[in-house]
Structures are given as C-alpha cells and as structure tokens.
Symmetry: C2
Subunit: 496 residues, 2 copies
C-alpha cells in the first residue's frame, strides 16, 4: 500500500508515492510553460497542466510495486479556470501574479470594506485572489461566464478530473477571498457583492475529506491497481508545513525554493494579524491556522547569478558532476559578506510589498569577490525574511524555530545563514519536498490509514542549526543597515 | 634622430621613442609593485622603479636605429622619495594615495589658511600633496630627514639619476602644494610653515628646460649612442593633454586608463576655480594652465569585472586571440543599460570626494544581463565625469569637446558613450599613449628640434564621435537620477 501526493505548482508539477511511514518510493515531475499573452496577463493552459499531472502519475505508478490506495493534491493558490458542463477548460487559467483584476479587487474592497474583508476572509483585498479573477471574467466575458459550469482552482480541478467531487479544501478556499474562514463556508455577503453564485464554485470541505474514487477507466490509463481514494489536499505552503512536521506554538515552516516563504502555524486564529499585511487562514490540519510571509525571490536569485554570472561554476559542475548550486554556495564562504544585496529583483513581497522596487548591490569595492556576491545573495534573501520576522513579532507572532524545506534546505551553508540571520534554531525537515508528503499524509488520513494530526510525521532526527551568538549579533547590527536600503533607493527605483 | 618619452606611473613605467614627426618607433614597459606595509601606507621602492625605467630604456634603445637625442619624463604627481647625499633612496616613496600625512596637511592648512593655500598653490589642502608627506617624515623620522639631501618627486628623481640637474617642472612643482603658481617659485611662506628649506627640494623650472646630458657611462649602459639631452618633462596628465594636442579654449583631454581624468587647458589662470574642488595650475605649455577632474575608477572597473565576473570573456579571448576588453565592450551593446552603477569602488573623486563611498549597482531585475552590467560600468564612469562637467561649468569652465587618450580610447563603443553622456564631440587622439609623446615633444623643444606650443602636434585626422541628440537627451534625464544615487547611499555606506 502506498500514498500518492501530487503537487501542482505554477511552472511544474510533481508526484511522489510514499509508504505509510513516509518513505518516498518513486517521484516524477514535469514542467509546463507560463503564458504571458499580454502585459499583466499570466496564464496556464489547464489541459497542458492536466496532461503533465497524468504523465507524472503514470511514471510513478510504473516505478512502484506497492499500489497507491489514496491520493491528495497540494497546489498553488488563487489560480482559477472556467470549466464547462462537459468538463472542458473554457479559457486559460489566470494565475496568482496575473494583475488584470485590479479594478475588480478594488470594487470588492469598496463594497465590503477592507477591514471587513480581512475579518471574513483572513486576507486584505488583492487582485491575486480568485474571486477578483472570476469577477473580471464576469465583466469582460459574460458569454464565457454564462457557459461556465464551475470556476475551479487547481486542487479542485485535478481532484475532480481524477473522479472526485468538485470540492475545495479550506486552505485553498481561503485564498479565493470569498471564504468565511471562521464559519467554514462561502461568504454569502462577498459572493453577493461579487455577483457570483456559490454553486459556481467547488464545495468547501476540510482537508483530509474523502472525495470519491478515481474513475476506473482513468485509473487503468494512469496505471493504478484498482481505483484509489481521492482525498482533499490543500494549499502547497500549508501542505509543506504539514509535511515538514511544523507543530505550531512558535514554529514555522521555512520553504527555500524558487521563492522563500515563512509559514508559522497556530492553534487558533491570530486576532492581531487580521487586517495586517499577513493573511491568517485555516491550515490543512483542521482547527489549526497558518500565515505566510514570503519574498518573490529566493533560489531564483541564485539561479539568476548562475545564468548571468555563473558560467565558471556551470562549467566546473558539468566537468565534475557536482551540483552547480553546491559550487555556488561553497564559493559563498563562511564569513559574512561586506556587501548588501536588496533581493527585490521582481519587486518586493512582504513587508514592503512594492512592485516598483528593484534589486541592488551596495558596498562594492575593488576587493569584492564572486563569493562575497553569492554570500550577499543568501544574506539578502534572509534579511528580507528577518524583517518579516520582526513585523510578525510586532503582531504578537514570536517565532522560536523554523523547519526548513525545499531544494535550498539541502545546503548546510544556507541553513547556517538562516539560523544566524533569524537568530533562532533551524531544523532541516526529513522531507525536503514536504508539500507532496503533506498531501500524501492527508490522503492517508482520509483513507483511515494514518492518524490525524502532526505527531509522528517526522521520519527521523534531522540536523539542527543553532544560531551562533556572535554571528547573530553581527547580523542584527547588519539588519539595521539593511533596513534602510529599500527606503533609500525607493525614490530612485521609481525614477529608473 | 629620435626623442624618448618616459612615463613613470604608479604601478608601471613606459618608454617610447618617437621620430620628430611623432611616429612611435619602439616602446617598452615594466610593472612594479605598490607596497602596502600598513593601513594607509602606500609606497613604492624607488630603486625598483629606477631599475624598471632603465630596463625600458635599454629595450627601446635596442629596438631603434635612429638614436635618441633628447629625453623627458612624464610622471605621477605627489609621490616623493628622500634621497641621501650619495644619491641613495633613504626610505620607500610615499605615493599619492598614501594617507599617513592627514595631520600634517591639516596643520599646514591651519597655519596658512585654506583659501590662501589655494590662492598660492592652486590646490586646496590635501594629505596627498608632497609637502605634507615631507612634513610627516620631518615629524616622525627626524634622523632620516637630517640625512636627506633632497626630497625628490619621480620626474626630478629620474632626470637627476640620468645625469641632469635636480630640477622639477612647474606642473609637478604645483602638485607638491609648496609652489607659488603665480610667481613660478617655491613659496617661502609655505616652506616656512612646513619647516622645510627650499634647498631640500628640486629647483623649479619651466617644462622643456634643458637639464644637462645623460651621464656618459650610464648612457653606454642604457644603450644610447652618445649622451642625449635631458629636458624637464611634467605631470603625466599635463604631458598627456599636451601629447593629445589639446589646444585649450573649451577643449579638454579625457584620459581613459586605470582611472579616468578630464583635463581642460586654459590660456590663463581661472580665477573662479581658485578654492574650488578643482585645482588650477601651470600646464607643461608655458603660459597655459590646466585643471584636473577625475574618478578613482575607470578601466579599473572593467578590470574588476573581468577578474571577478568575466571568466567567460577571458576564456574566449584566450581561445580566439581577441582582446578581452574588446569582448567585454562588445557585450555592452548599443542600448543604454537599465541599471545604474555608482563607480565608487575606491571611494569617490571629484565632485563628491568621499573616501567612504562605495560602489553600487541598482535597478537589478531577473532580466538583467551581463552586457547590461558592463554597459552600466561604462555609463557610471561617464555619469561621474558628467557631474564634474556640470560643476566645472558652474565655475565658468564650459567644455566644447574632448580629446580622448589612454587604452580605453581605442574602443568606439566607449567613445560613443563619452560623447552621448557628456553631450559634446569626442575626438580620438592620434597618440593614445599621449603622455609619452607629450614628454618626448617637450624633449624635442628643449633640444631645439621642435617649435614650442601645440600647433602641428597631431599626426593625422582621427575619428570624431558626435553626440546623438536623442541619446544625449536620454542620458541627461538619466543623469538626474544618477545624481541622487550617491546621496541616497551615503548614510548606508558610512554604516557598512
């Protein structure tokens, strides 16, 4: 018996089969292109994504001997696709960073009030949220809207195409900004203001809820033995925090992927976060809550360095068979960089949330080395998270430790910097691809094969990185300088 | 018959023999190490420099058939060496950027007054000047000072070791900050305040003054036929402006070497520059005056890019036999960079003159390319010069065109950027290594073989780069943004 976790991201999907103890048995992934047909429009072709998902499932099924008995989906939030009565996608999906729905988001905020929207949904109004995107279609393409059976997010869409009910878990529902997070149902008030009927959306259910079995014919096509149970999964960051074994009470997931994201988990809704720049919404563990604080950069900045300035490391990696990122982080050395890098290469996320901000490198001298630049990349990404840690603390969220997941968490050097800059212990999750395990574990719960909750999720003791007191003190002083960098350059960036 | 110009720089010397029409016949150069025995101390070993100079002279003599009949030396300013009665160097030379003499410079400024110092010497007080360095020895090593016959700058030292009088030309004398530029003599007032007797210094003479013949035995050792005439040369930037054929009246030399330097030449002393951040002192053309506005960076910034981030271009240059700087400037492309680079990698020169400033790169995005970075290097160096052009204009010095010299002047791309950013025409000098030709030409004048003055100095018509009106307008707007960059980062750089 095995459990399948499917993670549907913005540019790639991944399927991993696990045994009931959480050991990965086989994994497969596929990339797909983001479409940018016009300024501000960022789309996915839902059929291409669905083909990619099926390909990964087939590949995993072909590689395992323990048959999959239950499946759940971890997925990007917000992205939404209009689905016709016959199940076909009627238009490309609008994804998170598609910005066409600014006016709709503003209108909703005006109709309901920013504070009340935040109170109901756990999120301040923003055009990234699903409800604004649906309003955009209703306004700009009434015919398409009329032909639409349901507007589905990627978790609901994949689960439904596999053969389950059209259901959306609460973490994903919260990211639509039409969900009443306290009462666990669509907000009639918001849907009325948006002009959307509830039956145009998937049915909200708690994560871990069984949704039916995989359609038998599709199951055969995908290489399943029998027809596994489909279970409601959740938002990728929430599945990641669950898969990483984050227990709440001051602990947070820290995901180091293309972007970085800090995700503290709580035993109850955090009153002081309501209306703040930080959302607070239902976690995939029923009864728990989660917040997110992230940069728009992270590993992507190292990738930029690799692609733009890293030809020597790329060549050496190709020649030696080493990983190019291992070579880059090795070059970063053990000493703090004399440089500061503002990692706003794609504008800034929390806390400054400034789409016009740009990246910067300051403190350059003729003595500046490549290693110091790479080190400053890692430090800059972490200074940005340290600012978020401070802002969260001002809202009463005190972090006592983080569990690191994602590709970047493989690097001892990066985790040492995380511990030193944040000044708190960092544990490396035993599941670096934690979102798939989080989803698979929800599948196991839904199938009654695993107990609910996070106890016992960790496979084994994993290395822990303690902050070095002296180094942490140094970085605290350094953060005081870093803090001024964004503001100093803001007027310039606006003029650039 | 040929003329020999010797250029004694901070890290290398070069000798070039020319025919009387200015065509180079043979050239040789040698590098020598800058010594940095302690923070703030930057020194040269005068004996090592002298050996290097002799080696270049021997190499040139071995390569030419037209015998050298006259020699003059172009040299770095300020650097000074204590010479004993037997001609030996008694201590390493203090060079320009050696900063040990801050207190001495301050004391001199207090004794004479800043304004009066500027009025007498054409320079505001600064620890780089020779007189402060000599005061430092007098204070910290009275025994060495007592044993010293004369404190010689490199032009005087090399001319004297060749066999000439211990004489210093007026452009070099001005850089000591002990020279009365109006009256063409050491300032008794300054020497008294400094506690230095005039006979401890070389005798000031106009550039082009014959100083004697090369010592016959040394002449044989160096491969001369007979004993050439030694003629007073001048400061390297002044010799460069002369060698480039800068005629004054709004024209300036623009030297693109390790650093960049703008050197306008005037028919009379510029009253409005007195006491400004720009020196104004006797040119090597008697009766003319010159000012200098320079960065501490220039080609050195491209070299930093090459050494730190340019491995791909270095490899391709090695494989193809092309010049690595040609590959780098080719990568810079024709389009203005979306980035801004503050080129203060060694602190800033005029107009901000801030030793604590550092380099910065702003406007970075995930779309930033290597070529955009290289282009921003070239542009940043020129924006800094454009600020100087503005400051000079505010002091009544309007530039109408520049003559480009130095290694960087070989690049059409760089000269196009110079023309577009400064908004004035740029002519490439027919002598890119203009300082050697300027010195050789002074030697020819001193020997009575060439008429005095600059008319007819140019060998041939050279390419001229006109500013593109649209591009110049763009860069004018861009300069307005660049202007804010230094100030925005100043508090941060102080804290870094």
């Amino acid at each position: 018996m095995s459990l399948l976790g499917i993670d549907v991201g913005t540019t790639a999907c991944k399927s991993v089969a696990f045994d009931l103890a959480g050991r990965p048995l086989a994994a497969a992934s596929r990339e797909y292109p983001l479409l940018t047909p016009a300024p501000g429009r960022i789309e996915l072709n839902a059929d291409v994504v669905w083909e990619a998902v099926q390909a990964t499932v087939r590949e995993v099924n072909a590689a395992i001997t323990d048959p999959v008995v239950a499946i759940a989906v971890s997925t990007q939030g917000e992205a939404v696709t209009p689905i016709g009565p016959d199940g076909a996608a009627l238009a490309p999906s609008q994804v998170t960073f598609d910005t066409r729905a600014v006016a709709q988001s503003d209108r909703l905020a005006e109709a309901i009030g920013r504070e009340r929207l935040a109170r109901i949904t756990g999120h301040l109004p923003h055009p990234m949220h699903t409800i604004a995107k649906i309003m955009w279609w209703a306004e700009h393409d009434p015919q398409l809207t009329a032909r639409t059976w349901k507007f589905l997010c990627y978790g609901d869409l994949v689960s439904w195409r596999l053969g389950g009910e059209a259901a959306i878990d609460e973490s994903m529902a919260a990211r639509t900004q039409a969900f009443d997070v306290e009462h666990g149902r669509w907000s009639a008030e918001i849907l009325a203001a948006a002009g959307i009927e509830a039956d145009r959306l998937a049915t909200p259910v708690p994560s871990g809820t069984p949704l039916g079995q995989v359609d038998p014919r599709l199951a055969r096509e995908l290489g399943f033995s029998g027809a596994p149970l489909i279970v409601a999964g959740g938002l990728d960051q929430s599945c990641g925090a669950f898969g990483a074994g984050v227990r709440g009470a001051g602990e947070a997931m820290f995901a180091i992927g293309t972007t970085v994201c800090l995700a503290p988990v709580f035993a109850r809704r955090q009153e002081r976060l309501i209306g703040s720049i930080y959302p607070c919404f239902p976690h995939v563990v029923p009864g728990q809550w989660i917040t997110l604080a992230g940069n728009f950069t992270g590993g992507s900045l190292l990738r930029w360095f690799r692609d733009t300035l890293g030809e020597p490391e790329v060549s050496r990696a190709a020649a030696s068979g080493q990983d190019v990122y291992d070579l880059l982080t090795a070059a970063a050395g053990d000493e703090p960089s004399p440089l500061l890098i503002l990692p706003h290469f794609a504008g800034s996320g929390a806390p400054s949330n400034d789409p016009h901000s740009r990246g910067a490198m300051v403190g350059l001298t003729f003595g500046t080395t490549r290693g110091q630049i790479v080190r400053a990349v890692l430090e800059g990404v972490m200074f940005e998270i340290a600012l978020n840690r401070e802002c969260l603390a001002q809202s009463g969220v005190e972090l006592t430790g983080v569990v690191a997941v994602g590709g970047g968490a493989r690097s001892d050097r990066w985790l040492t910097i995380v511990a030193d800059v944040l000044g708190i212990p960092v544990r490396r999750s035993s599941h670096l691809e934690a979102a798939c395990w989080g989803a698979a574990r929800l599948a196991g719960e839904g199938a009654g094969l695993l107990p609910p909750g996070v106890v016992g999720v960790e496979l084994r003791e994993t290395p822990s990185f303690q902050p070095d007191p002296e180094r942490s003190g140094y970085y605290r002083d350094r953060l005081a300088v870093y803090r001024e960098l964004y503001g100093a350059l803001r007027p310039l960036n606006a003029a650039l």
